[in-house]
Subunit: 245 residues, 2 copies
DNA sequence: CGGGAAGTTGAAGAGCGTCAAAAGTAGTGG
DNA sequence: CCACTACTTTTGACGCTCTTCAACTTCCCG
């Protein structure tokens, strides 16, 4: 399978010209890499290479041999699975610091695509596993990340199985706001780098319902739609109340 | 918070009177414990105790401090989360060999209840983490289990977000059949130790819709409803085709 | 500035939920 | 052993939310 728009060899977030690029990485602390001390970073750098993926580009497809794991350094990535007839479920959106590619099987069970120009740190799985052997703290951290993702996945199951369209959209906006906050960004205005189609496929709705629900929230003065996919949260408490947890 | 129906000190699946009970455990191979060699089992046994939970009994509640991890030895356990107004989403059913209690937070983010009399191996989290420190193979195995659960969670998101009632129920039956097979049981007749309410809360449906859909599958000669919550799968291929993946 | 993609809005319909009642099943005690 | 009770399941009628289909508008990007 061809991979478009991948630019290998790029050094994501390359810092100064000397030393490990990881040393200057602004999101290291919140990523797996934060488990390593500064003087251990060379081990990480040695097995890493940076790739850049343009908007719409594929990182990997569902079914591809799972040869790499990744860390998002910049941009945004969506994970999705397809049903045979083309129905799609987006299982997550990844932002800088997020880890990508945990797979038990020999192949990926989902696809990963860049929804805006993104940079990723790439590690071969084999090398990465060796790294884990030598750095138990890193492995423990990864287990924590996986546990965290499991909790997030359960949140999403509650949302998909038991929430109304209105509740789904409110939850989505609140979650984006909290994640932006955690990355140190402003949380009153969320930047949603995502089309209505993607939101629908993430929340288990059609684009029309997403659009109508946005309108409803706007008319209820809970949000304000701004240019360039930005949404201003006018009444966070109200949204939280609707979201339901 | 009181815990009802827990019988501590019971030795689950106790084998012979000599040596570690784990040595005789029939499901060790498919559980985390399979990562240990026979001569390492004493380390496991030392920090373990067995508990029995009656039908309907609570293993832990959402929000409880996450002090233990568990392994299901016998019976069946359901994991669930509640919305403030009482709507419930079941996030999984666990059977013998399944691991339980991975938590990134200090508290559990979901509840675990026995849906039939069950026996569990219980480990304090602190001791278990020490065990992981000393047995990297075990930690690797746990990472594999977590990855696996993540993939299962994604399956469930596809189901909840994008499948019809008919597809959901067919998927559910097929999954139960495959899991029974993996545990070495017969797979043509699945034993569903679960009420319609639980099935509904797992598939994101009401009990009425579950019931109607069972009837529809029965009339289509795909299944046969038998006494004692058993379901005979008359046409597995047909069910797989409906399930959609 | 033009063309195509993305988003909005409307009308109609389907699938599933809700409410209600009946039928089946299991557990309990005389 | 059977009657009694409580729970689970089934089935029916109706309604609502979300989807579908369609037309129109707005937003981008070259």
């Amino acid at each position: 399978m061809p991979r478009y728009n991948i630019v290998p060899g790029a050094q994501p977030r390359a810092g100064g010209s000397q030393g490990s690029p990881c040393a200057a990485c602004g999101i290291r602390e919140i990523a797996v890499c934060g488990a390593l001390q500064s003087d251990e970073l060379h081990a990480l750098t040695k097995i890493m290479d940076g790739i850049a993926v343009n908007r719409g580009g594929i990182v990997f497809y569902e079914g591809d041999p799972a040869r790499h794991v990744f860390n998002v350094a910049a941009g945004a990535v969506r994970l999705s699975r397809l049903l045979p007839d083309g129905r799609r479920q987006i299982t997550g959106f990844l932002f800088p610091g997020d880890f990508l590619g945990l797979a038990y099987d020999e192949t990926y069970t989902y696809s990963a695509e860049a929804i805006e120009r993104s940079e990723l740190c790439r590690f071969s799985r084999a090398h990465f596993e060796t790294l884990l052997d030598d750095h138990p703290r890193m492995e423990r951290r990864l287990l924590g990340i996986a546990s965290n993702e499991l909790a997030t996945a359960q949140d999403q199951m509650v949302l998909l199985g038991r929430k109304t369209a209105r509740e789904k959209l409110a939850s989505f906006l609140i979650t984006l706001s909290r994640r932006a906050e955690r990355r140190g960004q402003e949380s009153n205005t969320v930047h949603v780098p995502v089309t209505r189609t993607d939101i629908g496929d993430y929340l288990g709705l059609t684009i029309e319902t997403v659009s109508r629900t946005f309108t409803a929230l706007r008319k209820a003065k809970l949000i304000e739609l701004q240019p360039d996919h930005a949404v201003r949260l006018l009444d966070i408490e109200g949204l939280v109340a609707i979201a339901g947890d």
